[in-house]
Symmetry: C2
Subunit: 273 residues, 2 copies
């Protein structure tokens, strides 16, 4: 089975895909999230894993945009906490580290650890935690370390000098597994939809939500996004509890369709979050 | 006047603040968005500029989280399209460039330009476009260029070799100017609120939106975010048309307050978007 993910080797998407498939899939790397979605739509890969929202950074606009129009379905959601480790070459020791490479966000999350344990270290910002690990591996110096997910140690032949060095809450990230078909009904499902009202008159969203409220369908996410066609035009993304084959979900979606200019069901899948 | 922004020199936030204040403010750089918000709350700076959403990347979770609890108000919204330029040292010429430094996202946005005009160039990923410009300036080599907003040329003493090199739609970003007080009523205003229902029963959001719909108050943004206290608990962020001092907005907010466990008015400000 071939699974498309955002490259380079070791992105959070690849790590999420690894943890989901437990090694029983071949990863194919793409330069952008849209490229992953298009590769799934073309059938070049059997599935794709893309990030959709993280506690810290919010929704991933590029993923929502790519899903809106592509011929793919959401088959699963994958929820993963992102933790960071200090990674060095084999034989390196934490006390000897004088330079640390990482992405600015990971550095910010581990600032407390650095302040306490490596106050004199030189910090170098890189484009991604994966690039930082790759660079440390290439340089092969025992005094240079990277900060990033522990899994990067496996990918780039590094050693975990210290795990779980981020402070504050974990940055839980939700990924979507996309494929040509969504999932069968399990009885505990979610359905993602996107719609466009072509009309921002007050109350249209209220009327649409009424289709769900009147049927006691719970919404787990709602988000508006400018449609890019014109400022002030909005797309709405909603996750709801239930499968698109459930009778009351079916009825509600029929109601929504009658009130909107465009409705797409992005897929039904087992609820994990 | 002192204005706090996310550092290092030349971030999109700083550029937005520059374009808003047209040089009539002293910029103070902070390492994270939360630090900017806290500096405003403490009165260390008179105002702050933070990113809140971009067309491409969606909402900035860290900004929404920081605003939820801080003792600051939204005073203005600043809308800025982010465009990219190829920047080199003085005397550099585009045809001679062999290495380009930038943030992965900017590189992705300018891939078409690179493919067409600099197909053999070596691309090096950096932690931010500002860092890339800084590095080019430091190295001082005529064959090395950075990709980033044109304003970086001024900040780092570089020359614009080619402007507007991104492809596809512009990445419009919305920033918020925050201060201790929000803005007076102008007659064409927006108000941002955040609330927490402590109750995910189906229909509660519908009932809340009814407070606005029944008064014909238009919503320009709605977004749910996990509250971080427990998975499945949500905060809702809504932007609505009108000032918090408008009679019908006042009434609606009173209605929302009676239905929620927490309601905060983040501020009223002139509508620009």
């Amino acid at each position: 089975m071939k699974v498309g993910v955002l490259g380079p080797r070791g992105t959070y998407s690849e790590i999420a895909a690894w943890s989901h498939f437990r090694g029983r899939a071949e990863m194919v790397l793409y330069p952008t999230i849209s490229d992953v979605v298009e590769a799934v739509a073309r059938g070049e890969v059997d599935a794709g894993v893309i990030p959709v929202e993280s506690l810290r950074e919010g929704s991933v606009g590029e993923s929502l945009d790519a899903l809106t129009w592509a011929d793919v379905k959401i088959k699963e959601e994958i929820v993963m906490p992102i933790t960071h480790a200090l990674l060095g070459v084999r034989g390196a020791r934490m006390e000897r580290i004088t330079q640390v490479l990482s992405h600015p966000q990971a550095i910010a999350q581990c600032r407390e650890f650095l302040r306490q344990h490596l106050p004199l270290v030189e910090v170098v910002e890189m484009g991604s935690t994966a690039r930082a690990a790759e660079q440390v591996s290439k340089l092969g110096q025992p005094h240079i370390a990277a900060i990033g997910p522990k899994m990067l140690a496996k990918i780039y032949g590094l050693q975990v000098l210290k795990d779980n060095i981020q402070s504050g809450e974990k940055n839980i990230t939700r990924f979507l597994l996309i494929a040509k078909e969504d999932s069968r009904r399990t009885g505990n499902d979610k359905t993602s939809i996107v719609f466009y009202t072509a009309n921002d008159r007050p109350g249209i969203l209220y009327e649409i939500l009424g289709e769900f409220a009147s049927r006691k369908i719970n919404l787990t996410k709602i988000e508006s996004r400018p449609s890019k066609k014109a400022l002030g035009d909005y797309l709405f993304f909603i996750d709801l509890e239930g499968h698109r084959e459930d009778r009351k979900v079916k009825e509600a979606l029929r109601g929504v369709e009658s009130k909107t200019a465009m409705l797409r069901v992005l897929g039904s899948y087992p609820k994990r979050f």
